[in-house]
Every structure is written in C-alpha cells, then in structure tokens.
C-alpha cells in the first residue's frame, strides 16, 4: 500500500509515492539518498536518526514517511551554509566532539534546536539533553564541551553570559 506525499526537505519540495510502512528515516536515506541521517537502534533509543520536523527535533525512525506529508524536514545535509560549516558543526570540529561520527548528525540536529531554546545552558542541562543520544565511542566530555562552545559562538555579544554555570 503506497500513498503519494509532498514533503519539503532542506528547502526542496519532493513529491513521491511512499510505502505506508516506510519510516521517514528510510524515506530520507533510500528515496532521497540523504544518508547523513543515520540509523542505529531503529526503535527510538539511540538518537542517531534525529532530524528537524518543522524546526523541532524528532526521531525519523519513529515516524512514517506518509506522516510527513505537507511538512518540512531538515536533515544534517541542510544545516551548513553553502560555503562552510554551521557554528554547531564548527564547534564539534574544533573541540573534537566526535570520534567515529556515527551519532554526530543526530546530536547536531538536537543541539541546533536545543540552543535555540536554551541559548546559555548549564553543563547539567546539556547532559540532560544528551541523555537522548548514545555515543558508543563514549566521547561525551568533548561533546559537552563542543555544545558549550557552540552556545558561546551562537550567542549575540550582548547576551553572552559572564560565566557558565557548572
């Protein structure tokens, strides 16, 4: 059983037939060949497949592609400007916030949405957010530092906190 859906992905509109039991993650990877969205556990635990749905982070493995009809999706491929890296990506690069990189796209997507809502998070708040993402290289310390650095880079000069809460 298939349905035709219209979905905007990274600003580009697609009209495709999707099998109703296909997840959004498989649709992005297999039909649109956007393989930056990674699949780890495929039941919502690991966070590797996190994408933005109308700007909010969601698990692409826990949504059917047909449910994305009429919605707008942003994947890791849609984060960076044409001529470089997004400040969050830049911070992960500068602070060695990735090792094998498998969990990274999901973490970057969550971080982009997280810092929009909490522009100056404490380390504890960062760790609470990261509880939804598994990094099996266990490089969490550097990931936390990368997110702190990204928060500083994204903050407008006037809004920069004088010190980070521990």
């Amino acid at each position: 059983m298939t349905r035709t859906i219209r979905v905007t992905v990274n600003g580009q509109e697609h009209e495709r037939a999707a099998e109703v039991r296909q997840t959004l993650a498989d649709f992005l990877r297999e039909d649109l060949e956007l393989t930056g969205t990674h699949l780890g556990c495929e039941h919502g635990v690991c966070g590797a497949c996190t994408v933005l749905l109308d700007g909010e982070p969601i698990r692409a493995c826990l949504m059917l592609a047909v449910q994305a009809d009429g919605r707008s999706v942003t994947t890791i491929e849609g984060v960076a400007p044409a001529d470089g890296l997004h400040p969050v990506q830049e911070a992960f690069w500068a602070k060695h916030g990735l090792q094998c990189g498998y969990c990274t796209p999901g973490i970057i997507m969550s971080t982009c949405a997280f810092l929009r809502e909490q522009p100056a998070p404490s380390r504890e708040e960062i760790r609470e957010m990261l509880a939804g993402h598994l990094c099996r290289c266990t490089g969490y310390h550097f990931i936390v530092e990368a997110i702190e650095a990204a928060a500083k880079a994204l903050a407008p000069p006037t809004a920069r906190p004088t010190h980070q809460k521990e």
């Binding site: 919502g44 826990l62 969550s110």
Partner: protein
C-alpha cells in the same frame, strides 16, 4: 522495512476514525505520536492489520483548564504540555521533563502515553494521583473511564479495541495543596525503575484533609499508595507517621524483578520515594502547584 504490512487509514473526522477502528475486527491500532507503537511494530511485537492515523483530525489539540480540571486532547504533544506547564504548573513541568527526551516528547502525545499504559511511565501514575478520567469515543458513543478503573495489567487498559481516547482530564490540585515527584532511573529519560507522585491538601487546623499517592514502576499497573493515604487522613502529618505510612504503602506493592532491579529493591526504593514525595508535598503546601 521493519514493520509488518498494514492497512493505513487517515480519517478526516472522529466518526470516520471510530468506524475505521470498528471495521478492522479488533486488530487496528490508533496512531497518534507513535513513540511507543512504532518501536513495537519495528520489533514486530505489535502487528496491527490497520493503523488509524488520527493526526489529521480537527479539534483534538487543545489544552483546556476549567473549574479545577485540566483537559488535554488526543493530539497534544507531551512537549506542548511541557511548554504550557512551564509557566502554569510546576507539578506538570516536573513530570513532563522526566518522560524520555525532547525529540520523543515533540511527537509523543499525552493521551497516547496514558493509553499505552506502561506501568513504569510517569503520566499514568499522575492520572491516578490526580483522579483523572479518560474520555473514550466508540461506536456506542462517548464514555468516561476513571483512572482507578482504567489500568488492568501492563499495556492493558479498559479501553475497548473499537474505542478512541479523545482526551484525558486531570483534577488539578486545589489551592493551597502541595505536590511531590521523584523517580529513580538509570539515566535521565529512561523508564523509571521506581517512581512516586503525591499531592497533599491540609485543613485549616493543619491536619491532612486529603493525601493522594501513586507509584509507577512498582507493579503491573500504576498503583495507589492507599495505606499511606489512609494513615494520614485527618491527622497531623508528622515525619514518623509519613515514614510509617510509606513503609506500609510499599509493603502492599508487588513489583516485578528484571535485569535492572530486584522486587525487594523496588519495594525499598518505593518506600523511600513515598516518604520523599510526601515530605516535598508538605513543604510545598501553599506554594505554586
């Protein structure tokens, strides 16, 4: 593709949704947020023959507060209630932030979580603690199911296969009441090994007018802490009385053992959390709730 094949219905009205459920012969599942259903389908623990996707139904996304009740429609995401609660209810805010993670809460619905009936989940216990009601619509019309009668076994509720839960209603703690919430889990966002939520209201003379306690992760369904509620009713809530009642309430539980914790550990933690949530509730009496 991980889920087994199914027939997909995306009704545009409540009547169509109910009829899509009723004509599926008991094998249909309602798809709202899908944060529990899709994992079960991916693991093929659930193989519904039909999914009734209610996401396009109008009028189910409201959060309404009226005459001491909070009504939450079937399409209200957990994240939406969390945002509502941030400025209006510290109790709901505290409970919501313990449910999984933001990407899950952005899709997962409040009603879906309540109706899924995971005994280790926070909202079913909150529904029990706040004398909640599930509003169910089926081919025979609408009915209200009280939380006390809703949960029957793990993932098993009083909702019939051809019924759709259109809303849940919580009784908000009255003015002056205090609340407490605590859970023990391995990581933030995990299902609780054990948790408790309590509300207490004091009479003018300082004795307990009403105490209400519910446990989660401590049995096959969310469980009331009746022994503690009864021990406190009409009396001054001294530390000794709370501790004694907490032990009695925990002793009445029949928690399961699994790879994460033994039944004895869960019962012991339940007693401690009951004591803590009651102490917190007493300390918060008269404050925001």
């Amino acid at each position: 593709m991980k889920p087994a094949p199914f027939d997909y219905a995306a009704p545009a009205s409540l009547d169509e949704a109910v009829s899509a459920l009723a004509t599926a012969g008991g094998d249909a599942k309602v798809l709202a947020g899908g944060q529990s259903l899709i994992p079960m389908m991916a693991l093929r623990l659930a193989r519904p023959t039909r999914l009734v996707d209610i996401n396009r139904l109008p009028g189910l996304d409201g959060i309404r507060e009226a005459s001491g009740m909070l009504e939450i429609g079937a399409l209200v995401r957990q994240r939406a209630l969390e945002r509502w609660a941030a400025t209006r209810s510290p109790l709901f805010a505290e409970v919501l932030r313990h449910i999984a993670h933001p990407p899950i809460r952005n899709r997962g619905t409040v009603v879906g979580n309540v109706v899924h009936g995971d005994p280790a989940s926070e909202l079913p216990a909150l529904l029990l603690c706040l004398e909640g009601v599930v509003v169910a619509r089926g081919p025979r019309g609408e009915r209200m199911i009280a939380a006390d009668r809703f949960y029957r076994a793990p993932l098993t509720t009083a909702l019939a296969a051809d019924e759709l839960a259109t809303a849940v209603r919580f009784t908000l703690p009255p003015a002056g009441a205090g609340w407490g919430f605590a859970e023990v889990s391995r990581r933030h966002g995990d299902f609780a090994l054990v948790g408790a939520v309590a509300v207490i209201a004091l009479a003018a003379d300082g004795t307990v007018a009403r105490a209400r306690l519910a446990f989660f992760g401590a049995g096959g369904t969310p469980m009331r802490g009746l022994a503690l509620e009864q021990a406190l009713a009409g009396r001054a809530a001294t530390r000794a009385l709370v501790a004694e009642g907490a032990r009695a309430a925990a002793a009445a539980l029949s928690p399961d053992a699994d790879i994460h914790a033994t039944a004895a550990y869960r019962r012991q933690v339940a007693a401690t959390l009951a004591e803590r949530t009651l102490a917190a509730a007493l300390a918060r009496c008269g404050g925001p709730r």
